[in-house]
């Protein structure tokens, strides 16, 4: 048990910290989509472009996040499938009859 579980009063922050430690590294680096870049223009028009970009991004974020989640699942599925096939090939090679 970690510190959070050993304290007399369970502390949500410490419990979440334990989860973070348990998470370790993901099987693949997660995909990210960055915040929209600020406009290169100065002044009012630059601010307007920047806020328009952010507004559009905010509008499409739920759909984008769903697509990313699907893509992430596909990547992991494919990587796991490759791992399984490699293990299968290694197994077959280990027990393959020796060549004449």
């Amino acid at each position: 048990m970690g510190a959070a579980a050993g304290e007399s009063e369970p502390d949500p922050d410490l419990l979440l910290e334990e989860l973070r430690r348990a998470a370790g590294d993901p099987p693949l680096p997660p995909l990210h989509i960055a915040e929209p870049a600020p406009s290169a223009r100065d002044g009012v028009s630059g601010k307007a472009v920047g806020s328009s970009r952010r507004a559009v991004m905010r509008l499409i974020t739920p759909a984008l996040a769903d697509l990313l989640a699907q893509l992430e699942a596909d990547r992991h599925r494919m990587q796991a499938e490759i791992r399984r096939l490699e293990a299968r090939v290694a197994h077959l090679e280990k027990y393959a009859p020796p060549e004449d």
Partner: protein
């Protein structure tokens, strides 16, 4: 076995697939002779977690239910954080903030489980110690905060599908901390194992069971409501998140092409849904009326792109009705392939084509319905309890 369930909401009045499944499973285990204590909140609503039930202990159909109050959540902050983290997961501070803002955080529940779980006494000597603690869904603070407290005997029922929160590092921590995993379908198992890298964690596809259904009566359904002569039926929450808006658009295209089936939506309507006049809606319905509508329907449509188990598909097949499911939902696609009880569509065009195929061919409908009925017949609570025992017994040794 002395089994604890941890779930965010619990009770007959709670609308929610995960919670209903948790309650049905708890009652089935108790009927089979196991001891089940449910740790839950006083809430009925999953956003505000406002108290609905009184705190304290209660017995529901043989299941001991312990209800605890929760800290006030911050749903608007939680929604903002989900939006941000959905595009860029992995920031531990923000993920922790999301977990607490969404909730439900119940310090009393944590205290109760810690008292039971973290003791120098042996398990048998502890008061109210449980052999295993089963956390239902990875998504809420109940599971997220309890899991580290009971990790020596923690089981997780992820109820996962391809959604942004599954990518969070915090979610990976919840999944990796479990000593065993209970899945609803083989597709969910593969998704969780691949995304969290937990192939070595023991897991069983426990699925669910069904209580005997009331006999449906199409005539009674038609006497009770003005229904189209022939129709496709949707059962569940009428919500864009369940794919209902896309279903309405696809069905509109089918009608414009001369399709003869109407569309009936049977379920509670989410705020903000715009339903055209040509769609029949019923609002929330009980089990008897569900059976009557299934008897009157020709096809049951399954538009949700996200499912960890489609109980509605099983319900339709049990009633001998073919399904038309969204192929984007891997679980629905898998269940449909395994059962042979329906067809799949990939978008509005194929929705119209497949629905026309079903509408025009009564024999195909009957054959698919019969195959589905045979498949659903295996989903009994006895079989489900046996799978739960297969999962839990090694942990209690």
């Amino acid at each position: 076995m002395d089994i604890a369930f941890v779930v965010q909401r619990y009770g007959a009045e709670v609308a929610g697939g995960a919670e209903a499944l948790c309650r049905d499973t708890a009652r089935a285990l108790v009927r089979a002779g196991e001891d089940v204590t449910v740790y839950t909140t006083t809430a009925r609503d999953y956003l505000s977690w406002e108290p609905f039930y009184p705190p304290g202990d209660w017995v529901d159909d043989g299941v001991v239910v312990r209800r605890f109050t929760v800290d006030p959540p911050n749903p608007s902050r939680a929604a903002d954080l989900v939006r941000e983290l959905g595009l860029a997961p992995g920031d531990p501070m923000r993920e922790a903030e999301w977990a607490k803002a969404q909730g439900p955080v119940s310090r009393d529940m944590l205290r109760a489980l810690r008292r039971n779980g973290d003791s120098p006494l042996s398990r048998k000597e502890r008061v109210n110690a449980h052999d295993v603690v089963v956390c239902w869904t990875y998504l809420y603070a109940t599971s997220q905060l309890v899991m580290p407290l009971v990790r020596d005997r923690a089981v997780l029922v992820p109820l996962a599908h391809e959604e942004p929160m599954l990518r969070f590092a915090l979610t990976r921590g919840v999944i990796r901390m479990a000593r065993a995993l209970a899945f609803m379908t083989p597709e969910e198992r593969r998704l969780v194992e691949d995304t969290a890298g937990v192939e070595d964690t023991p897991g069983v596809v426990v699925g669910a069971g069904f209580d005997p259904a009331p006999d449906g009566d199409a005539g009674r359904a038609r006497r009770a409501r003005a229904l189209p002569d022939r129709f496709a039926l949707y059962l569940g929450r009428v919500d864009a998140a369940k794919g209902v808006d896309a279903l309405i658009r696809a069905h509109a295209g089918y009608r414009e092409a001369g399709g003869p089936l109407g569309l009936v939506l049977a379920g509670r309507e989410a705020p903000g849904m715009r339903i055209p006049d040509w769609v029949t809606t019923t609002g929330f319905i009980g089990d008897d009326e569900r059976a009557d509508l299934l008897d009157a329907a020709e096809v049951v449509v399954l538009p949700s792109p996200y499912e960890s188990l489609s109980l509605v598909a099983l319900e339709a097949w049990r009633a001998g009705r073919p399904t038309l499911g969204n192929a984007r939902a891997q679980v629905v696609a898998g269940q449909t392939a395994r059962s042979g009880g329906g067809l799949l569509y990939t978008g509005p065009r194929t929705y119209g084509q497949q629905l026309a195929r079903l509408a025009d061919d009564p024999r195909a409908r009957r054959d698919m319905g019969e195959r589905g009925r045979r498949f659903a017949a295996g989903w009994t609570w006895d079989a489900c309890v046996a799978r739960w025992r297969e999962l839990l017994t090694p942990l209690c040794a």
